[in-house]
Symmetry: C2
Subunit: 326 residues, 2 copies
């Protein structure tokens, strides 16, 4: 009796490792999934030739088109146009500016044909004078009400389930996961922790100038109508260096805007992983690459074999696209 | 027998909490230590009126004069002057620039009378063209050999033991600890993890511009001879917002350069802690405040009572100054 009791107590007390669930359940067992798992196993194998200590396991992710849908237009553009329309009466001077006039007229095609800097200038103008706290509330309120034009769901429900699993998997293996996006950093920070498990301080993005001032005796920061930094193309490695101070060992993108980040990341010593999400699924999401005004993928697709970048084919590699389809 | 064996096994298996050592052993039991401990206990007490969830427990520390000694001159200035002298022959044009000429002549008084921007411009000039990796090696090599003029020890041994204990204590209580310094961010990152337990991505500082380029077919970042950002005074809250995206709940400084950071941090809602290290110990370290060209403390000292900032009196509050004295 006692022996049985002892065995039972011991069984209850000795912590048994949880049976590790297979990682990346929404990924088909194809070359992309296998390349990711092989890379992670290599860098985490202590004593192995490719071992990377945990502090250096830094993985960077583009956001639009890599972690969530960017079609038919970047989510931040939809937000910006709504903000500009809401404030049009207070800003008659916007009518004289072609960029702002296009926004007021809802000319999405013109806005998407412009540069990331153009789009951030619209956002800077539409949020000038606000504190970061007030801007954050505006973003959160808008996201709670806005619906995606095709799917009729909140935008934050249109994060890619396979990429969310990838983020979780990497963090469980000791990686620090960062967003590195051409989008405005303060537009992302209010919701990235909830949607991706990425806290505000691990979001790197384009930035609008802020100034410290004392208002009615209280110190505040105030957003200015000026762009400070564009975190796109050659700006991405610069933004990473500025914020992290170390070269990542893994980079994930979907467009030529991620080319330099992929190049710089995968040119470092030791094991490296570069991965491109290729939008090939017109039925469940969208199919676009070389000719798309949003998320154009041309040079990076050409050079992927040369630099060993893995292509994740959305149609073939992903069992589901969005969490709701799980 | 069996019962005894069972009890012994159970005792060995059931994890007992380690007897918590008293925090801050190098601090005397005075008002500064008590204020710090009371603040930490308040924000970590779940269900209590001052509870702050762990992700929001952000603490920011000035570096020079707050975490390590800044007398007789900022360590980075000693490094910069050595670098400028070593490269003088390759830069005859420096002779025509009053700032660089002062550096070449070792005119410390002139350098210290200048602005943080002046000093960062010297560093930018002295490291232009280097990659961040090469610059990091130069900093590490220099720190390994350089000795403090008064104490004859490596500078990294002149971090304050009581502040190192404070960093450890806060992290053990769920805080994220950041450096927010007017010093160059890349000068600090190579050694802050080892000396303070603060990894590179949690160091915020003044910044020199870098550019992405492809050299001999390899993508690299290159330092430019241009200042990008001065993380001093009103720049500190701006730098914090840019890097962290949240207002800290605790700030630690020692000079008027930390005034705005202290103001902004302690003006937020809920429990807040602002603390000033007051250099009052000419025997063991230095005694200076209102008139010092390095680490001048005047306005912040005047306003400390008004805003409830705690004064840590180095002479009275600290049992030891440096780790070697433990």
């Amino acid at each position: 009796m006692r022996t049985i009791a002892l065995a039972a107590i011991l069984a209850a007390l000795i912590p048994t490792p949880a049976v590790a669930a297979e990682p990346l359940p929404s990924w088909n067992d194809g070359p992309a999934r296998r390349a990711v798992v092989a890379f992670v196993e290599k860098v985490t194998m202590e004593g192995g030739p490719g071992f990377v200590p945990a502090p250096d396991r830094i993985a960077v992710f583009d956001n639009d088109g890599t972690l969530w849908s960017e079609q038919p237009a970047y989510v931040q553009v939809a937000f910006t146009l709504d903000r500009i329309k809401a404030q049009a009466e207070a800003h008659p001077e916007w009518r004289g500016n072609p960029l702002f006039r296009a926004a007021l007229e809802g000319d999405l095609k013109a806005i998407l044909a412009g540069t990331p800097r153009d789009r951030l200038e619209l956002l800077a103008g539409a949020s000038a004078g606000m504190t970061p706290e007030a801007f954050e509330r505006t973003v959160s309120d808008w996201l709670a009400k806005a619906r995606h034009p095709r799917f009729g769901r909140p935008y934050t429900e249109l994060a890619y389930q396979p990429m969310r699993e990838l983020l979780t998997y990497l963090r469980a293996e000791g990686f620090k996961t960062y967003i590195v996006s051409a989008g405005g950093v303060e537009f992302m920070r209010p919701w990235t922790e909830r949607v991706y498990g990425i806290p505000p301080e691990r979001v790197i993005g384009s930035a609008i100038k802020v100034r410290y001032e004392v208002r009615d005796g209280r110190p505040v920061l105030v957003r200015l109508p000026e762009v400070e930094f564009i975190d796109d193309r050659a700006g991405k490695p610069v933004g990473i260096q500025r914020a992290i101070g170390r070269r990542p060992i893994a980079a994930f993108g979907n467009s030529d805007g991620d080319y330099e980040m992929l190049r710089w990341t995968t040119a470092g010593p030791g094991p490296r992983l570069g991965l491109i999400v290729h939008h090939t699924d017109a039925v469940r999401e969208w199919a676009y690459d070389r000719e798309s005004p949003v998320g154009r993928l041309n040079k990076a697709l050409d050079d992927a074999p040369k630099y060993g970048w893995v292509i994740a084919d959305m149609k073939d590699d992903w069992k589901v696209i969005y969490p709701v389809q799980k």
